[in-house]
């Protein structure tokens, strides 16, 4: 991105940000995204801080869960909202500032060119992300797990930066309310035979994002939730 004022994407592109107690970070994230797209939706997932007010002030559409229901549920609500507003492309983006809004045009580009239905951001295709060593191994476990269970081959299974075509957003069912939705989305891509591709994105591991993020132990819980739900299908 060489330009100081990037050209904003079409208004049918919606960015959805699930946010739970992210008041310190969400303003900058919303402002950053608004430089690249016109519609930013923050789903305030039962925050006890000023997340909703801060997001609204920053210029986002705000949808509020009255009580916390988890990131998967918040993404689903944000997608439903965007679909009801006529979105043709829906991007999911993390609220804690770990993603770089400047990557947005590259992430939606394959969708706008009609090359695929889902774009998955990956932190492992270039060297811009400072992934801590333990996290790198846990994520490798996730990649192997996804390949075995869902039969889908990607380099980063748990990256919150993704983009969906309208058709993909309508087809994909997210039943996992909490963090296992990331595995579920990949499983759905395979099940619905959607065309997907990966685009390198930068993930910044700041003290804030590491503190707010998932511990590596949570991966075991994610596996359990995902398999339990898959068996019930």
């Amino acid at each position: 991105m060489g330009d100081s004022t990037p050209e904003r994407l079409d208004e049918s592109v919606f960015a959805v940000i699930p946010a739970h107690n992210e008041a310190p970070a969400v303003r900058e994230v919303v402002a950053g995204l608004l430089a690249f797209c016109r519609n930013v939706v923050v789903v305030d997932d039962g925050s006890r801080d000023e997340t909703a007010a801060v997001a609204r002030e920053a210029g986002a559409h705000v949808v509020r869960h009255l009580i916390n229901r988890g990131q998967g549920a918040a993404i689903r609500t944000g997608m439903d909202f965007a679909l009801s507003r006529g979105a043709k492309v829906i991007v999911t983006f993390d609220a804690d500032g770990q993603h770089d809004p400047a990557d947005l045009p590259a992430v939606v580009a394959p969708l706008l060119r009609g090359e695929c239905d889902v774009v998955l951001g990956t932190r492992f295709k270039d060297r811009r992300s400072n992934v801590p060593p333990l996290r790198r191994w846990v994520l490798r476990g996730g990649i192997l797990f996804t390949r075995l269970v869902s039969g889908i081959k990607v380099t980063d299974t748990h990256n919150g930066f993704r983009a969906f075509s309208r058709r993909a957003a309508e087809l994909i069912e997210i039943n996992q309310d909490r963090m296992a939705h990331a595995s579920e989305i990949l499983d759905e891509i395979a099940r619905q035979r959607l065309r997907y591709c990966e685009v390198p994105v930068r993930v910044r591991y700041s003290n804030y994002s590491r503190q707010k993020g998932q511990s590596s132990w949570a991966s075991l819980q994610i596996v359990w939730h995902f398999l339990f739900e898959k068996l019930r299908r």
Binding site: V62, V63, R64, H65, I67, R69, R76, N175
Partner: protein, 118 residues
């Protein structure tokens, strides 16, 4: 036999709670009868443990207390699984409710905003 006194008084306490809940209307007469039968049977077993031998012989277990223990563990595991699934279902319903409400509110507030404009 302090254990007998302790257990039987606990069973009687539970029984009295069930009667109170019946009076409040939280449980119906059939449920009250079921709960009473359960605690009375438990009291009988505690007071005359020999009766459990009937069950033990029937099941091919050496001791009556073991027979009761095995059956109880099995029943509790079943209940734990059932409760787990029940909670998952209730959580799903709760999520659906929260999501619908969020979308409804968002729609309503945007409609109000657009009607304010001249």
């Amino acid at each position: 036999m302090i254990i007998k006194v302790l257990l039987v008084s606990f069973f009687l306490f539970s029984l009295s709670r069930a009667v109170l809940r019946f009076r409040d209307g939280h449980i119906n007469a059939r449920e009250l009868v079921g709960i009473c039968l359960f605690w009375l049977a438990a009291s009988v077993v505690v007071i005359w443990p020999a009766v459990t031998m009937l069950l033990a012989n029937l099941l091919g277990v050496a001791r009556g207390a073991d027979a009761i223990l095995y059956l109880t563990v099995a029943a509790l595991c079943y209940l734990a699984f059932r409760t787990y699934i029940r909670i998952r279902d209730v959580e799903k319903e709760l999520t659906e409710l929260v999501r619908r409400l969020a979308l409804f509110e968002a729609e309503r507030s945007s409609r109000n905003k657009s009607s304010e404009r001249p």
